[in-house]
């Protein structure tokens, strides 16, 4: 059999095997495991068969709990079945996992192990999730590298059939699931040889069938449950040997020998690290390096963690062992140690009590934590642990990789310790998400891996923003397999694909002496030097760096590539790295271009070819002067007047130095200050809007739709202009209430993302040059400083008196201060304008329960938080619990508020005399129907608090008064908003949402409906319309979108509205106001255009209009209060369809793609979808025409 080498990531490595050896795959997307399901779906869509010649069925469920249920059912019906998940997803599967194990059912779940949400959510890798599942009775097999993921996926699948225990096959999320590495591909013959068809048939025979009826899933009682639970023991006892035998067979077939516990290092080692997961690779490499230098160290890699074979474990340890460090990539707060540490202690203790103990002296065993949430774990850290093991009393319960200055658990390590081989080329590439850097590097590493004899590895780091996000690519290649699951340092090659990054990052600190630095620069080799910060110049001189510039954007412009400089910079990299002769490299790049883009048409291929051909002529070496002459340095990240926390913590995270923050810098309970995005000036847009006061009609539409809260409006007295910067603009206010005042529309120049929605929505055109509107885009750089000054002055202008304006009109609503600003959402986001509106209307009195998803990421992902505060210090209080429970989470908040209001009311009644009956009654009977009423109540409560403070010292009912003082604020009206996307509302959270809506409690639910799982990358939800392409609906979704609104309407007691700001902004505002005012549950479904719809988002509002005009998204409001008044509660706010559905949908890529891939099916689905629309319109218009009951 010839070896086939391939360069791929861990997820693909797992999916390739899982798809071959299963019949049913039930999945639900969750980071970082989603790609496994997507690969499997793609293979099935392409008709790829499994090893038995049939195409596995891939089904997407509504939640991981549902996926586990479906897997359990499929297994019970005799199919070989698998799933892929991570983190909270695995937790949701646990109930079924007990059942599956209890029933001795063969299956493998492939897990990209990830942190669990505790003080915060984290999508990154550690073993918290799999460790939480270790009690389920599943075998647990850990893969440490991409090759092992591929191999163990098969070993687990073979072993489960024989052992009858289900297997969790897990590997480190992101670090392994997303690392690209060159591996040997398993041949299908190997898979066939490994999977015993007799065992497969036995598995099928255990499936339920009425032809041989049995019953499984009984209820048992005290008499027999216990014994039945013990009946499985022989299977657990036999499993380690079965797994070892399977590993041996695998070795015969492939030459790769694995053991339950693999030992690496000095044969007579005294100091041992026990570890599993990708960190084991680092530990092994380091141990080998140190052992070669004569140190008596070794690493025991745990592969089969459950069932834990004490015998095999001890057999693998050198008898010379004196000290054992057990590393857990998880935390079990409050326990005597982390799980694997306890296992090791137990195993050694048990054996030392035997007649023939394995060690002469009981070894020192100490445990520690490392690598939580993908924290770096490097050879330097491994060295520090070995050093600790040499101490007389090693620190038990240590941490490595952080500075714990609170409980002092951490070990120190020496960052300069490096085991990197000289023949490994190490590159770091800084780019923007939108410039294609990552894609190009994925491509490069595939070329190096597959077109040369080199081994290759790539890993990518992204920041937490969805717009203007910064990416870092870490590439290694060399003649030996690359086993270095940590970021590149000491790079021989550093590339900066964005010139503006010179101001933001210290890129050359990781460059080694003599490295090459390639800069995408608009300045040529003769002009660039003095455009570099002084410190960078010095680094270049000191480290003798070879410095090259390439004007990537010029080449991109010339060749029609727009902002995508990927293939251009890639060509520069190949030319400089010399890994291939330049002409061969160019041929390989072109071949990759052909492979990647030919499906998208020849024009794209040609443009990329032209870019490659044009690149080298634009690349020049810079003659490095002997001295640093630049007169500037990198500017500070945050101004020195920012709050202390922002300066000491937030700024470090923004700068990319979060790893250096000590434990003491972290809030202890996940509580963070709001109102911090304003300190993070990202300057990501090349152009920003410029206001033309002369023609502006002050309608407020631009401010309303601005997704990032960058456009603000104020009216103010003419006297307030004093001290205004020269370029500050104003115009006479066109508001009847403020007819003598001035109006200003101000742009925050450093926070704009350049989406141009504002320009698109502006209804006014310049009469002499209609190409100009009342707001137009212009270059940011010349405007930055003057507009910064204007923005700062604008902020000093007073806010409007909210009580005197009719906020139900768009132009007035936009005078209200938004308390949601500058988030990291995508440029042109369709969701954030609704959230911003919510905060303008109710920001000072609302709590938001936010479902996990896009809105929780741009709402709550560090470093900065977009929810802001008004001058009084009020603002949104926000929390994210989970994905599935958000309705219940918000409901709990409401119940708590209601209870506290009742309790405070009761206290106030009881203390009426002490407080004064007039004050008490005015509070108890206050009408808080509008903002003025709420403000009056707040004022009364201030009086109350002062009054209590006065009487408290001499009061008899001191404790009760203190309680009332503590609770008083709850008596001013508060709103609870439950916010989330359609994945939550339509799918995973629907059961809870339904229950909460039916509860009658006064909660306001805002569903930001993008009709797809946006945050995890575009998977189908039940909100996805018929005929749209999404992941898991590659051939267009067959079923119609769920009518969530009508399901809610059917209760008759829920306020329901469907809105689309781009189609009818006035109706949107009306719906928000009515929903909030309704004393019961309300549901607003807001059409949110999204990057996953596949078109330029600047047309988002036009698409909203088209969605409404075609009646795909008919606007309505259902207000139960109207029924009480004898009126028809259902108000249809849309007119009859003006355009056919195809006129709406075929402007969007998600639908048009289908006409390119499955034209006939597209036509059929369009016909059905038009039928859905027609039917629904008929139903709605009939409902709207009904008379009230009076």
């Amino acid at each position: 059999m010839t070896k086939q080498m391939i360069t791929l990531d861990g997820n693909e490595a797992a999916a390739r095997v899982a798809h071959k050896v299963n019949e049913v795959i039930a999945i639900y997307p969750i980071t970082p495991s989603s790609p496994m399901g997507e690969f499997a779906d793609q293979y099935s869509a392409e008709g790829q068969p499994n090893i038995w010649g049939s195409v596995p069925m891939v089904v997407e469920m509504q939640a991981e709990g549902g996926a586990a249920g479906a897997v359990h059912g499929a297994l019970q019906a005799g199919a070989l079945t698998t799933t892929f998940t991570a983190s909270q997803g695995l937790l949701l599967m646990i109930p079924n996992m007990y059942k599956i194990a209890g029933e001795l059912t063969s299956t493998v779940f492939h897990i990209a192990a990830r942190s669990l949400a505790a003080q915060a959510l984290s999508i990154f890798g550690d073993h918290s999730d799999v460790m939480a599942a270790r009690n389920t009775g599943w075998a647990m097999l850990a893969s440490n590298s991409v090759q092992e993921v591929h191999d163990f996926a098969l070993i687990a699948s073979a072993a489960t059939l024989e052992a009858r225990l289900p297997f969790l096959h897990f590997f480190d999320g992101f670090r392994t699931s997303h690392e690209i590495n060159k591996i040997e591909l398993l041949d299908e013959e190997v898979m066939r040889a490994m999977i015993n068809d007799e065992l497969v048939r036995a598995h099928r025979d255990r499936g339920l069938t009425p032809d041989h009826p049995v019953l499984r899933g009984t209820a048992q009682n005290p008499d027999v449950y216990f014994q039945a639970r013990e009946s499985v023991n022989p299977f657990y006892n036999a499993t380690p040997e079965i797994v070892q035998n399977v590993m041996n067979k695998f070795a015969e077939l492939t030459g790769r020998q694995y053991r339950l516990f693999d030992y690496t290092g000095a044969p007579d080692a005294e100091r041992i690290i026990v570890i599993m997961g990708s960190g084991a690779e680092t530990a092994q490499e380091t141990a080998d390096y140190l052992a070669a230098q004569g140190e008596k160290v070794g690493v025991l890699t745990v592969r089969l963690y459950r069932p834990f074979s004490v015998e095999a474990f001890l057999g693998a340890l050198p008898s010379t062992t004196k000290s054992i460090a057990v590393l857990d990539r998880t935390k079990e707060p409050g326990g005597p140690g982390e799980p694997m540490y306890l296992d090791v202690v137990t195993a050694v203790a048990q054996s030392m009590a035997d007649d023939n103990p394995p060690f002469a002296v009981f070894p020192k065993i100490f445990g520690g934590r490392y690598g939580l949430s993908s924290k770096e774990f490097t050879p330097a850290m491994v060295k520090a642990i070995f050093d600790e093991a040499a101490k007389a009393k090693p620190k038990n319960g240590f941490t490595i990789g952080i500075n714990d200055d609170v409980t002092f658990t951490s070990l120190e390590w020496d960052n300069s310790f490096d085991i990197g081989a000289d023949n490994v080329v190490r590159g770091i590439f800084y780019g923007l998400g939108s410039d294609g850097t990552v894609g190009a590097n994925k491509n490069s590493i595939k070329i190096i891996g597959e077109d040369t004899d080199n081994y290759a590895q790539a890993y990518f780091v992204y920041d937490s923003k969805k717009s203007g996000s910064v990416t870092m690519s870490h590439l290694r290649f060399g003649p030996q397999p690359i086993r270095a699951p940590y970021l590149v340092n000491n790079a021989n090659f550093v590339a900066c694909h964005q010139f503006s990054f010179l101001e933001r990052y210290d890129m050359l600190s990781n460059a080694k002496t003599g490295a090459t630095f390639l800069l995408n620069s608009p300045y040529g080799p003769d002009d660039v030097w003095d455009k570099l910060p002084n410190a960078m110049q010095q680094q270049i001189i000191d480290k003798k760096i070879k410095f090259y510039v390439l004007d990537g954007y010029e080449v991109a412009r010339e060749t029609g590539m727009g902002q995508r400089i990927n293939t251009i910079m890639q060509t520069g990299f190949f030319a400089l790295s010399g890994v291939l002769p330049t002409d061969e490299a160019i041929a390989a790049i072109k071949y990759a271009i052909q492979k990647t883009y030919s499906k998208r048409g020849n024009a794209v291929v040609e443009a990329n070819y032209a870019a490659v051909d044009g690149a080298l002529a634009h690349m020049h070496q810079v003659k490095v002067p002997a001295t640093a002459t630049s007169t500037f340095e990198r500017p500070p990240i945050i101004p020195d007047y920012a709050p202390e926390f922002v300066q000491s913590v937030t700024a470090r995270i923004i700068e990319g130095l979060g790893d250096t923050l000590p434990v003491s810098a972290m809030p202890i309970d996940g509580t963070y200050p709001t109102d911090t995005t304003k300190w993070e000036k990202r300057n990501i847009s090349i152009e920003i809007p410029v206001w033309d006061p002369d023609i502006c009609i002050q309608c407020g539409k631009c401010a309303l739709v601005c997704p990032h809260g960058v456009i603000r409006m104020k009216v103010y007295g003419q006297d307030k202009l004093e001290g205004a910067p020269e370029t500050f603009k104003s115009a006479p206010a066109r508001y009847k209430e403020f007819k003598d005042d001035l109006f200003t529309l101000q742009v925050a120049p450093e926070d704009c993302t350049g989406c141009t929605l504002c320009v698109e929505v502006c209804p006014v055109k310049n009469k002499t040059q209609p190409k100009f509107k009342a707001i137009n885009m212009a270059d940011q750089i010349p405007l930055r400083e003057p507009e910064k000054a204007n923005w700062e002055f604008f902020e000093t202008l007073p806010q409007v008196d909210r009580s005197i304006i009719p906020v139900n009109q768009v132009k007035y609503s936009q005078l209200l201060e938004p308390l949601f600003e500058f988030s990291g959402a995508c440029a042109g986001c369709g969701e954030t304008p609704y959230i911003k509106l919510l905060t303008q209307l109710y920001g000072d009195r609302s709590i938001i329960a936010n479902a996990t998803g896009c809105s929780s990421i741009y709402g709550g992902n560090l470093p900065t938080t977009p929810y802001a505060q008004n001058d009084a210090g009020r603002g949104i209080a926000w929390s994210n619990s989970l994905f599935e429970d958000n309705a219940e989470f918000g409901f709990g908040m409401r119940v708590a508020l209601d209870q506290r209001i009742e309790a405070a009311t009761e206290m106030l009644r009881e203390l009426r005399e002490e407080i004064g009956s007039e004050l008490a009654d005015s509070i108890l009977f206050a009408e808080q129907l509008d903002e003025a009423g709420i403000n009056e109540q707040r004022a009364r409560l201030e009086v109350l608090k002062t009054r209590i403070a006065e009487i408290l010292p001499a009061a008899e009912k001191k404790s009760k008064l203190e309680n009332l003082l503590n609770m008083a604020d709850v008596l001013a009206k508060k709103s609870v908003w439950i916010v989330g996307g359609d994945g939550w509302a339509y799918d995973i959270g629907y059961g809870g949402l339904d229950h909460v809506l039916a509860s009658g409690r006064n909660v306001n639910v805002l569903v930001l409906d993008t009709e797809v799982y946006s945050n995890t990358g575009g998977q189908m939800s039940k909100a996805t319309p018929r005929g749209a392409v999404a992941k898991f609906a590659a051939a267009g979704k067959a079923a119609a979108k769920k009518d969530l609104g009508m399901l809610a309407v059917s209760y008759g007691s829920i306020y329901v509205a469907r809105v689309a700001m781009g189609a009818n902004d006035a109706q949107t505002i009306k719906a928000f106001i009515e929903a909030e005012a309704y004393d019961g549950p309300s549901l607003i479904m807001a059409y949110s255009h999204c990057v996953a719809h596949g078109y330029d988002m600047k047309f988002g509002l036009q698409q909203q209009q088209a969605a409404v005009d075609s009646a795909h998204w008919p606007l309505f409001r259902y207000n139960p209060d109207l029924e009480m008044e004898g009126k028809n509660p259902f108000m249809l706010d849309s007119r009859a369809p003006k355009i056919s559905l195809d006129q709406y949908i075929y402007r969007e890529g998600r639908y048009r793609m289908l006409t390119k891939s499955h034209p006939e099916r597209a036509a059929k689905l369009l016909e059905l979808a038009q039928g859905d629309v027609d039917k629904r319109w008929k139903q709605y218009s009939e409902m709207a025409q009904k008379n009230g009951n009076k």
């Binding site: 869509a45 997303h178 990552v438 499906k599 020849n602 024009a603 945050n1015 990057v1091 048009r1152 891939s1157």
Partner: protein, 333 residues
């Protein structure tokens, strides 16, 4: 009645040929045209510009937002195949050829030299009987001379003729300073036919919204005059078959066109407005008129009122203009 006519070396059963329009996009319509008596069909145009744009658009929405955020490294499933480029159009030719007995003439609108040639070859391979080159070109650059503009047409034709052996017909606009000379040049370079005239969609201005708006107005019979005149002038003087397009709506229009010298008369607006069934009405009406007026065949009529054959050749020249002006009497005193 013998209605046959020769066009691009093909004998057509009558002069009624539906021209390039959105109607040609479905096989169902093409079949209906054949059933209603169409002698050939000219398919809708393959636009190179559109192909290029679609390719870039597809690429744009497949790459938009990707590799930027760790949870969403892409937003769409990777389909194994997209029908981009001319595939759909070429398939349409193949299907049309399979299901029709009448000739199928493809239509191509190119941009680049490479594009014209590449797509012409593919169209030939797909089995089209002939190719109409739809040079929809508006010279807006004030530095571009008339000669240069003419050369663009001649170059395109030369390139395509060199690359394919299909009969080629050129669809022209009337805005040449010397139409007859241009027609002769094209015929000399190898045009097998000339289609007179392309009808440019003239954009309208929307004063309400201060916008230039595309505005498709269907033709009427009054627009017949321009091509009628030039067909009559060119008939017998250039070595290419003449096709009349624009303004053909009635039996009289068809007969006039043939009398002027057109080998075929092409219809689009009439079919869009009144349905494909109009072909049958026109065919019957033509037969009826020819019979009533005791013609032996349509060929007898063809070119009979062309400039070389008519009684008053000068009527197609300046005198015509003078006569119209002098015969014009205002409605008011």
């Amino acid at each position: 009645m013998d209605l046959t006519t020769n066009y691009l070396g093909m004998t057509l059963k009558n002069p009624l040929v539906p021209s390039s329009s959105p109607l040609m996009r479905t096989l169902e319509n093409l079949r209906a045209m054949e059933d209603a008596g169409a002698a050939a069909v000219v398919l809708h145009s393959l636009f190179e510009e559109q192909i290029t744009q679609e390719s870039h658009t597809l690429n744009h929405y497949l790459t938009q937002g990707v590799e930027s955020y760790s949870e969403a490294l892409s937003y769409f499933p990777e389909a194994s195949e997209y029908k981009t480029g001319p595939d759909e159009y070429l398939e349409h030719i193949q299907k049309a050829k399979r299901s029709l007995d009448i000739p199928v003439i493809a239509s191509l609108n190119g941009v680049s030299t490479g594009g014209w040639v590449k797509y012409a070859k593919q169209i030939e391979e797909a089995g089209a009987d002939a190719l109409e080159l739809n040079v929809y070109y508006i010279p807006t650059d004030p530095h571009l001379t008339g000669n240069e503009v003419e050369q663009i047409y001649l170059d395109v034709l030369t390139d395509v003729k060199t690359a394919v052996s299909l009969p080629i017909t050129m669809k022209l606009n009337p805005y040449f300073s010397s139409m007859a000379h241009m027609a002769r040049n094209l015929a000399d370079v190898g045009a097998d036919g000339l289609v007179l005239f392309n009808r440019f969609y003239q954009p309208d201005l929307d004063l309400e919204n201060l916008e230039v708006v595309p505005n498709l107005k269907l033709s009427t019979s009054t627009e017949l005059r321009l091509p009628l005149r030039w067909i009559a002038i060119l008939y017998g003087k250039v070595n290419a078959d003449l096709a009349l397009t624009t303004g053909v709506h009635t039996v009289t229009d068809v007969l006039k066109g043939v009398a002027a010298g057109a080998a075929i008369t092409m219809l689009a607006s009439e079919l869009l407005r009144n349905g494909i069934g109009r072909l049958q009405v026109l065919k019957l009406g033509m037969e009826e008129w020819l019979e009533e007026n005791e013609y032996e065949s349509l060929a007898q009529l063809q070119g009979s009122l062309s400039q070389i054959n008519c009684a008053e050749p000068a009527a197609f020249e300046r005198a015509n203009y003078m006569r119209v002006l002098s015969s014009y009497a205002p409605d008011y005193p």
